[in-house]
Amino acid sequence: MAEVWDMIIIGAGPAGMTAAIYGQRAGRKTLLLEANMYGGQIINTPEIENYPGIKKTSGAEFAQELYEQATDLGAQMIMEKAVSVEEDGDIKHVHTEPGNTYDGKTVIIATGAKNRPLGLDREKELTGAGISYCATCDGMFFRGKDVAVNGGGNTALGDALFLAQICSKVYIIHRRDQFRGDKSDVEKLASLDNVEFVLNSNVTKLIGDPKLEAVEVTDSKTGEKREIPVSALFVAIGQMPENKEFSNVVKLDQKGYVQAGEDCLTGHSGIFTAGDCRTKTVRQLTTAAADGAVAALAASGEID
């Protein structure tokens, strides 16, 4: 007889791992299915200073602590990508890429989101040769050089602050005239001599072969083009969810996020959602953790 888990959590990011902690502590047998690496998006963040109770930590450290906390409590993790959920009465069959199936009484979809690419010509070719989606991983390679960051949210601002310490110059390119991210970070950046704001601008061309040498930006208001010589472009323009495979068990909004409110209920019995993958306004560690707890307790409540 196949093993039946109480809770199968798809995605071992902060939301998923928090759900596993609450699930295990509620006496439920939980399984985490992770396609890539536990921790999800947060492992790329060099410094976390806004998580309540933790003055300062790094993304990788945070992910590691969370992983140990969940697994010490008995949560199991299998590194396989869930590709579909099949409802079969009270049991959900979760199928994974290598062809395995895991049965659970409840499922929590916590798939988070992926970095949105620019969608420009030659982007793939230049990834690793000047185009990067992780300032903390690759910033050091551009020590003393001129680089650019594209984006207007907290990730872009955080990346720019990090890069400004090691690069000779940092251009922050944003399509609007105001940054979306925390004012305190915007002010810090504005006070730095080696940071230049390039607002109302989109990156329209990637120049250089075999390495990136410059980016062309176009002013969204005037149409004026400008070529900025840089050795690297760090892309931080937001995220994209990846939930199409689960559209048979959850409703997706037009951007692909799972439709659910802060109660984490999807409308399908036994199926819940948590974290960045659901429709919400604030995507942060705090709200991911909150969802993890709420979803796990709701799921636990539905079992027997």
């Binding site: 890539n36 060099p46 690793g128 040769a129 000047g130 992780c134 690759d138 390495k211």
Partner: protein
């Protein structure tokens, strides 16, 4: 066999002159994702004894990173008889690490 640390001083002997295929794991202490991938690479190193797995710290061995155009880490580069046969950039799941190490 567990991953061995290699520097620019012994890179030629340990990697280019190795009679077994070698996978080089380029990493740095300030790279979070590298810290996550490292244990996975160690595990695969233990499980695939036919391939030698070594680690190169890009800060300590900058000349090696520059020579092989490593500008994004984590980065795995596979060598057979001193020549590069493949490269993988970024965090990848264990099955993919295994495939890469085995040369599939």
């Amino acid at each position: 066999m567990a991953a061995v640390n290699v520097t620019w001083e012994n890179f030629e002997d340990e990697v280019l002159k190795s009679d077994k295929p070698v996978v080089v794991d380029f990493w740095a202490s300030w790279c979070g994702p590298c810290k996550m991938l490292s244990p996975v690479v160690d595990q695969v190193a233990d499980e695939v004894p036919d391939v030698k797995v070594v680690k190169v710290n890009v800060d300590e061995s900058e000349p090696v990173a520059i020579k092989y155009n490593v500008a994004s880490i984590p980065c795995l580069v596979r060598f057979v008889n001193g020549e590069e046969t493949g490269r993988s950039v970024g965090v990848i799941p264990k099955p993919q690490v295994e495939k890469f190490v085995k040369g599939e």
